[in-house]
Amino acid sequence: MLIEQLINGITLGSIYAIVALGFTLVFGVLGIINMAHGEIFMFGAFIGVVVTSTFKGPLWLAFLAAILVTAAMGYMLERFALRPLRNKQGVSHLAPLISTIGVSILLENLSHHIFGPGNHPFRASFAEISFQIGSITVYLVQIVIFVISVLLMYALSFWLGKTKAGKALRATAENLETASLLGVDVKRTITMTVIIASAMGGIAGILVGMAFNSVTPQMGLSIGLKGLAIIILGGMGNVKGAMAGGLILGLAETFVVVYGDSGYKDAIAFVAIIVILLIRPQGLFGQKISA
């Protein structure tokens, strides 16, 4: 029982971590909280539903389609909602936040109109397959989700740490102007970051669809807000913090459902951020910034 819940928690947590990584990449490079990330993630999930249920396509095609669509949405987000605000004189630092709130509300209602408001089931062909290890039941879906998440996190860490583009991204995150002086194509790096973050959101969307077997237009908001909570928990712009924060929140939510009141599950994330911001504003894994 305990181990099964642990596995549930880790599955949920690894999805949260992927969502949070999308937030943290954009925040690290641009210093912007992308409120539309949750909605892009939700669109990824819907693309998955359309491909697997409506067109009866295979799962890998769903992933591919979701990545393409969300990457395109990421580009549009950067092009139309973020770029016009950059390098503009006299724009409040809140403007990008408000602008992405606009995108989020637009996308949520767009999906209402395109896909309908109800609950869409997500049928993975292997949803019912499970293994029995001793007294523990493990579903194949959980393993698939976990493996994909770990692969994704590993690929991202490798890309950020070892490749030239990743180095450029980290340089831009450190200091935009200096990076640009040193010959980094900052504009391209920023666009690429938003696109990659959005594509990760799309992948996470399909994973969530598989895990919960349901996709709704509202899920973008609730998961998006949790992603926000996680990056605050782990430290803003901190990649490892986002992964750890995701796991912590996933486990915490699972255990509240088991041992506490399931209704308050969704409040944990926000209580956590309020407490974290008051006690340790730099996040659990963040560096203290000297004022």
Partner: protein, 325 residues
């Protein structure tokens, strides 16, 4: 004559416009110190639920409920404000958004008290209570030549109008006072304001609490005008809706959010086909406004231009040239 002019439907729409104007003012107050608070929907919920529960469960008069709800929301504003105002910019926005969500989750889950997601219905209706009270004194709307429901909605509208005008007047006067100048100084540069001897924590908490108070007041009115509330009324969408009043209308002057609330509430009513796409249009408006005119439609320049126009016209006609100064 009067009876034909008064259409309960228009009065109802006008009442919602006035409530939204009050909400717009509530976000304007915190924005006037340069802080973005997305908790006002939550404060509105606290006000609405407090007043509704007091009047439903304890048969208290509506006016007591309104006072209690408003004060409790303001109290929460102080309680939340003191710790969170150490945070700045986006962090504050997220925490206040989180606070709003926590409030909503509590409303949904505290079923013994709030009836959960179903919401509270049968809340005493402000207009009808007034009518009943006046009936007790032997008053009949027919004296004014009005139907009962015409009188009910007219009474609500007039009360809201008085409340809205008083609130706007109060904050316009406050803007020209020591407090208003402190707010403006903090908005321009917090550190400079502090070095000038302004107690920034005090003024920021004051602005935050005032915003909460006004939002809570709007919430109590909302409850007693609609007679039905549910947690969904005070969720993220409401927070965004309040925000867009200020984003669209402008947050530099108090007339900005007032205009934003007026225009954006009336628009879906006038253009019926729009109301289905309302939130999509809201989203587009936010994106376009941020890119093109981040200070909102109405700013200080526009106000000065309007003043100039009206004063010129006054001079041309040879009247009121002194008044317009």
């Amino acid at each position: 004559m009067l009876a034909e002019l008064i259409n309960p439907y228009y009065l109802q729409v006008a009442s919602f416009i006035l409530i939204n104007i009050i909400l717009g003012v509530s976000i304007y107050i915190t924005l006037s110190t340069g802080q973005l608070s997305l908790a006002n929907a939550g404060f509105m919920g606290i006000g609405a639920y407090t007043s509704a529960l007091l009047t439903l469960n304890f048969d208290l008069p509506i006016i007591v409920g309104i006072f209690a709800g408003t004060l409790l929301a303001g109290l929460f504003g102080i309680l939340i404000g003191i710790p969170t105002l150490r945070l700045q910019g986006v962090y504050l926005a997220i925490v206040t958004l989180g606070f709003g969500e926590v409030i909503r989750v509590i409303f949904v889950n505290w079923e013994s008290m709030t009836k959960g997601a179903v919401g509270l219905s049968g809340i005493p209706h402000m207009g009808r209570e007034i009518l009943n009270t006046l009936r007790g004194f032997g008053f009949d709307p027919k004296i004014l030549g009005l139907q009962n429901n015409q009188f009910v909605f007219l009474a609500i509208f007039l009360i809201l109008l008085v409340a809205t005008i008083s609130i706007i007047t109060f904050f316009r006067r406050q803007n020209r006072s020591r407090v208003g100048r402190a707010f403006a100084a903090i908005k321009l540069d917090e550190k400079a304001a502090e070095s000038m001897g302004i107690n920034i924590t005090y003024y920021k908490v004051l602005a935050f609490a005032q915003g909460a108070l006004v939002a809570g007041f709007a919430g109590t009115l909302f409850a007693h005008v609609l007679a039905y509330i549910s947690p969904a009324d005070f969720a993220y969408h409401r927070a965004v809706e309040i925000l867009i009043f200020a984003v669209f209308g402008g947050s530099e002057v108090i007339w900005g959010p007032v205009f934003g609330a007026l225009f954006l509430t009336a628009m879906p009513e006038v253009l019926r086909f729009i109301s289905e796409y309302r939130y999509m249009i809201y989203g587009l408006i936010i994106i376009i406004m941020m890119a093109v005119r981040p200070q909102g439609l109405i700013d200080v320049n526009i106000l000065n231009w309007v003043k100039l126009k009206t004063s010129r016209r006054g001079q041309k006609h040879g009247t009121s040239s002194q008044k317009s100064m």
